[in-house]
Subunit: 182 residues, 2 copies
């Protein structure tokens, strides 16, 4: 199973692809951050994020996607951009009929380190150990995206199967909608 | 000038098209709300919003778009969905190369009623009066979207010209990117 992980952000959107399944070694396919600069206007920045995600979907053809769930309580100055980037990530995956789920930061941390309050360094260390890397993926946003993908593979089955069933249903509704000539 | 106004929301996303220019009578082309139900999962809801906006862009071919600016301070329980819907609205417009600007709720209210703190009823009444309608467009989200489109036409020129210049620049960058074979 090949999973795309996305740690949404406007300035740096972490993105990663991990391959594997529960109980077998995982392999890091790619990890990076999509960047946009604050001197560009918001619509163009969001468009840049969308294009970046689309490029990754085209290139790595993941079978599922995991996106970090964003909370309004977090850093107020960046939360709106983060929410907008997360919405785009969800839509990009849903548009292709991929099952897409959200994980909270603590779910991802707990899956990787056993501790939902682990710090970034600990997550990075464990990500590197799990994937057999020399060091944590960089930048930190990329490592967080990797952790989300791993979390998704390990929490695996159940959640993705529900999401996939919902996708199948939505696809049938869409086909029916098109058949009606809309 | 034909302007698309969007009052972003996940359950009801107000959307409207108004035609006209500064100093001339304005005409309401259409106003409604795109709806999604809370029992659908988030990615599918966002996809529904995106498709709805795309349908309007296809059907009415506006030359510019105005989207309400969302603030993190607002209703915490709905702000994330609203932010995600607004991001989609910005991207849908930007993807087609339309100049797109955001207006705060007070900017729209002040443009329509002269008072940035006007209530919904007052905005609805003035929208109906400006457009020569028998009553305010319904639901209220549709009326808010109309107000945004009117605000955009009246604040008009300057802001849209800047946005258009940015779009032209972005398009050239994109063409250069494609020419490089990415």
């Amino acid at each position: 199973m090949r999973v795309l992980g996305i740690d949404p952000g406007l300035t740096r959107c972490g993105i990663a692809v991990v391959e594997g399944s529960i109980g077998r070694p995982l392999r890091l396919i790619a990890a990076d951050a999509i960047r946009t600069t604050p001197d560009t206007d918001l619509p163009q920045r969001l468009l840049g994020i969308e294009r970046g995600i689309e490029d990754w979907l085209d290139k790595y053809e993941p079978e599922a996607a995991a996106v970090e769930r964003v909370f309004a309580q977090h850093n107020l100055s960046t939360v709106m951009g983060t929410a907008q980037a997360s919405g785009l990530a969800l839509v990009c995956a849903a548009r292709r009929g991929l099952p897409v789920v959200t994980h909270t930061p603590s779910e991802a941390k707990a899956a990787i380190t056993g501790n939902g309050r682990a710090d970034k360094a600990q997550v990075g260390t464990m990500v590197a150990r799990i994937l057999g890397l020399d060091g944590p993926p960089k930048p930190a946003d990329a490592a967080d995206a990797v952790a989300l993908a791993i979390c998704n593979i390990w929490r695996g089955g159940a959640q993705s199967r529900v999401a996939r069933a919902q996708q199948d249903f939505a696809r049938k509704v869409e086909l029916a909608r098109r058949a009606r000539g809309r």
